[in-house]
Each structure stands twice: as C-alpha cells, then as structure tokens.
C-alpha cells in the first residue's frame, strides 16, 4: 500500500447536538483520486471544511505527510500544499481570469508583501499562471472578467486557482454541482487530466462522475464512515445500497 498523503484519526466536529463529523478515521493515498460520497447532510462539506482549515475540529487529528496540521489555519494549509476549491464558485469579482490566476500563482513567491514591481513582471508568477490557465482550459478566456463567465467556466477557473498554487493535494468540493450536462462533461474531462499528476479528494454528488474518476470511494453517513473501497466494492456493498445508492440506482 502506498504511503498516505493525508490521514485523519478520529476526526470529529459537532454543531450543538448534531455530530456532523463523528470520529472519522481515513487515509488518502498519494497519486489517487479518492471520492467522498454520502446523502445530503452526511457531513461531507463539514469534513472538507475541517481538512482545509475553514472549521476547527473538536476532536481527533489530521496529518499531512506525517505532520500534525489539525489546528493549522487555511492559509497555512494552502502553503503546505493542500489546495481546495469551493462549492459555490467563489470567483473574485472585478478580476479577469488571468489576474485571478496570477494572484493564485503569487503563492509561489515567499511573500506577497512586495510593493513596487508590478505582479505581471515576476517571470515565475507569469509562468505558473499561464500553465494553470492552460491546465484549466481557460486560455482563450484570459481577459474575461470572472463574473462574466458561464457557470461551468467559473468552475474551471476555480480549479485553475487551486492548480496555480501548485498543491500536492487538491480538495474539490462538489465541482459538478449545478452544472448542465455538457458543462459537467467538460469538468469531468478536466479532472481526469489533472488526476494524472495530482492527488485528488473529491466530494461529489454525481455518481457517474465519481465512479468513472475515483480509484477509492468512501461513503459517509450521519458523519460516520460507512465503508471505504474501490468503486466496484462500493457498488456491490449491500450496506451502501441500503443507506444511499438504493434510490439513485435504476
């Protein structure tokens, strides 16, 4: 078994009486696409927010490449190499695609507390932004304002922003949610291409996409891990069928 890049040990988070994430222990292996699925309210988003530092855990720990990062804030996690995308495409209003990606690419500078040289005159920033622009397939739309993009394009840009930070691990929060059929296909195709060189944790509703992309699938129900396995194992699991897939499968 390959070495895990990210490990969760008994990770928990409560909201009042609700145990949104309840003692989750999981390992994400380097170089794979690992999907986390589950019915609405299963705690997928909370889990992702715990991993990206947006929320603070009440119990348990998170280890990234062996280092305990349970209490690290989002900006530090990003600098360590955990990039995340957001479910509601959070494009930065007022910026063009190119500017957005250049901002994300600035994370390669040791610090952005630089006050004089314009950001488009840093060769390494430009190179990274350009590469991310290509990777998220938005080169043709470089000068478009982010808020004028279609929904699908916003998702692509969102993924491009994560890529521009050169992450070792990408946490993707429902990258297909709310997309039309063709747009979803384009994003799945994009994710497949990214998966060649990156480790992905994919929280997603779209079952077809999950089973076509993921090497491992974890099913979360009521904040607990119900089962983890290959797509074939998960498809065959009676427990999963009962808890979750029953209504979705024909």
């Amino acid at each position: 078994m390959a070495e895990p890049i990210l490990e969760l040990r008994g990770l928990s988070r409560r909201f009042g009486a609700l145990r949104a994430v309840d003692k989750v222990t999981l390992a994400f292996e380097r170089g794979r696409v690992h999907a986390v699925i589950g019915p609405n309210g299963a705690g997928k988003s909370t889990l992702l927010n715990l991993l990206s530092g947006e929320l603070r855990a009440d119990g348990g720990s998170v280890h990234f490449r062996g280092e305990d990062v349970t209490r690290a804030p989002p900006d530090r996690l990003s600098r360590l190499g955990i990039g995340r995308s957001f479910q509601t495409a959070t494009v930065l209003e007022g910026l063009t695609c190119e500017e957005t990606l250049r901002l994300a690419a600035q994370s390669c500078l040791r610090s952005s507390m630089r006050f004089f040289r314009p950001s488009d005159r840093y060769p390494e920033v430009n190179a990274r932004a350009e590469r991310a622009l290509g990777e998220c397939r938005m080169t043709a739309r470089r000068s478009a304002r982010a808020k004028d993009l279609s929904y699908g394009e916003q998702r692509q840009l969102e993924i491009g922003m994560v890529l521009a930070t050169s992450p070792q691990l990408l946490l993707l929060d429902e990258p297909l949610a709310g997309l039309g059929h063709d747009e979803a296909l384009a994003v799945v195709d994009l994710l497949r291409a990214i998966a060649v060189e990156h480790t992905l944790v994919l929280v997603e509703h779209d079952m077809d996409a999950v089973f076509s992309l993921a090497a491992a699938v974890t099913v979360l129900v009521n904040g607990k891990v119900l089962e983890t396995g290959t797509p074939a194992q998960i498809r065959a699991s009676p427990a999963v069928r009962e808890a979750y897939l029953g209504e979705e499968e024909p």
């Binding site: 530092g53 947006e54 929320l55 603070r56 989002p74």
Partner: protein, 292 residues
C-alpha cells in the same frame, strides 16, 4: 474614596448606563433586524432632547412634553425609515454609513436653525426636585432615581415584548435569519418600519429624560452615538441583553473613570472596549465566530 462616594458614583453610573441602554437598544435592534448601521441614531437622541425642551416650555411640564413628544418621534422615525433608510436595505455598509452620516449633518443644522447655538436648560419637574441623602455629605437627586426607574421599566417592557409577544418572535426571527420572515409570511416592510420607529422613539425618550440633567445643545447626539457604539460592540451586535449589560458596564466605568483618573477619563470606556475586543471580538453576548 469614602463608602458613600462609591455608592453615589455607582448610582450615577447605573443611571447613566440605563439611559444609554435606551439609545443602544434601538441601535442594536435596528442593526440586528434591518441590517442597517444607523449613524443618525444619536441625532434622534438630540432631537428628543430639543423636543422636550420646546414642548416643556410650551406646556410647562416635562411630563406632557414626553407624552406628546414620544408619539411625535415615533411618527418622525416612520417617515425617516420610509423616505431614506428603506433605500438602504440592499446596500453595503459604506452607503449606510454615508447616508445616515448625511442625515446627522442635516439634523444638526436643522436644530441649529431652529434653536440656535445656545445651550438650553430644561427644568426638573417640581415633584422630583428633591434628593436623597447618602451618608454625611453626598446626596442623590430624586430625578435621577426617577430616570433610572423609568429606564428599568422600559427595559423590562422591552424584554417582555421581545420574549413574550408575536411581534417579538418575528423580531427575533428577523434578527437571526431575515429569509425566515418571508417564509413565515410576515410583512417585512411593516416590521422594519415598526422596529425603526421604535428605535427612534427609544433614543428620543432617552434624550427627553436626559434633558434636565445634561441641558440641551447642538451636537449633543454625537457623543451619545459613539458611546452607544461602544456599548453595542461590548454587548454584541443585535443583542438587546448585551446592550443592557454593556450599557451598565460603560456607565459605571465612565463615572468611576471621571473620579479615579480624571485626566484621561474620556479614554476609560474605550479601554474597556479594547479589552473586550481582545478577549471576545464579537462582544460579550455576540455569537461566537464560526470560521477562523
């Protein structure tokens, strides 16, 4: 400091805090329910004081002035909400700050136009002109006791309205989640107008009650506005309970500051606020921060 002096300062502090609560509760409610940061709130305090002065001169009684003045200010608040504030609900904080700042300038000039730049005294009602002895030297004016009790009654009334009535239920629903109101089928426009004019009336009433104590002068609303902000920050925005305890804390800190450290007394309440900010950035009764 003798015991009786401490007692006197404590009483003064509580009285000042209770008056402050009337102003701050309106401010915090208007922000909590309407989502509008109202810089003109202090002006309503000032207008209330001027109205009390003017009506008391005409009617010869502060009581009549208050009885006439509060409904007038309710109406005035309603008009201001409909004509100006209602246009701010979808706007950002900067627009809110500036529009209500514009109102402050207008109201200040209005009062100067009508009453000039002079300081106007307002007579304490004859019935309440006595005072209670505290120890050997100190005494506490009966009017201050009356003010404190009135404010306390209003605070209890407010508590009843918020916790015990349908209106209060809608108000709380609106403060926590404005969309809930639509779901409940509440006429949001009407609710907002009512809350705003109630806030105006509370601030004006505080001004009327304070008029005999502080005299009436142009710009008197601004220091009250700033102190009310301090109260709201300490108590937590949107929390009436927070405003109550915040106001008492600020009132007491201010009066003791004036006695203990007179040279920097004006900084004392801000130091309290800074301490609260370091300790609990969302105020004593504010919701704790979810995200980091």
């Amino acid at each position: 400091m003798t015991l009786s002096l401490v007692a006197l300062q404590l009483l003064n502090g509580v009285e000042q805090g209770l008056l402050l609560f009337l102003v701050a509760s309106g401010l915090t409610l208007v922000f909590g329910v309407l989502g509008v940061l109202n810089f003109a709130h202090g002006s309503f305090y000032m207008l209330g004081a001027y109205l009390a002065f003017w009506l008391a001169e005409r009617t010869g009684s502060l009581l009549f002035a208050v009885l006439l003045g509060v409904p007038l200010m309710l109406l005035f608040g309603f008009l201001v909400e409909r004509l100006a504030v209602a246009r701010l609900y979808q706007r950002d904080h900067l627009s809110q700050v500036l529009l209500t700042y514009g109102l402050v300038l207008l109201f200040n000039e209005l009062s100067r136009l009508l009453f000039g730049n002079d300081v106007h005294p307002v007579a304490t009602p004859a019935l309440l002109s006595g005072s209670f002895k505290l120890g050997e030297v100190q005494s506490w004016p009966a009017y201050r006791l009356f003010t404190s009790l009135s404010c306390l009654v209003i605070a209890l009334l407010l508590r009843y309205v918020i916790l015990g009535t349908r209106f209060g239920m809608r108000l709380r629903a609106g403060a926590s989640n404005a969309e809930m109101l639509e779901v409940l089928g509440v006429d949001v426009r009407k609710l907002f107008a009512r809350v705003f004019s109630a806030g105006v009336a509370l601030a004006a009433l505080a001004g009327m009650l304070a008029a005999p104590l502080t005299t009436v002068y142009p710009g008197m609303g601004e220091s009250v506005l700033v102190i009310s902000f301090v109260v709201v920050v300490i108590g937590g925005i949107g929390s009436v309970r927070g405003a109550f305890f915040g106001a008492l804390l600020v009132g007491i800190a201010d009066t003791f500051g004036k006695v203990l450290v007179p040279s920097v007394s004006s900084a004392v309440v801000y130091a309290v606020m800074a301490a609260v900010l370091i300790w609990r950035p969302r105020g004593l009764f504010g919701a704790p921060a979810e995200a980091r």
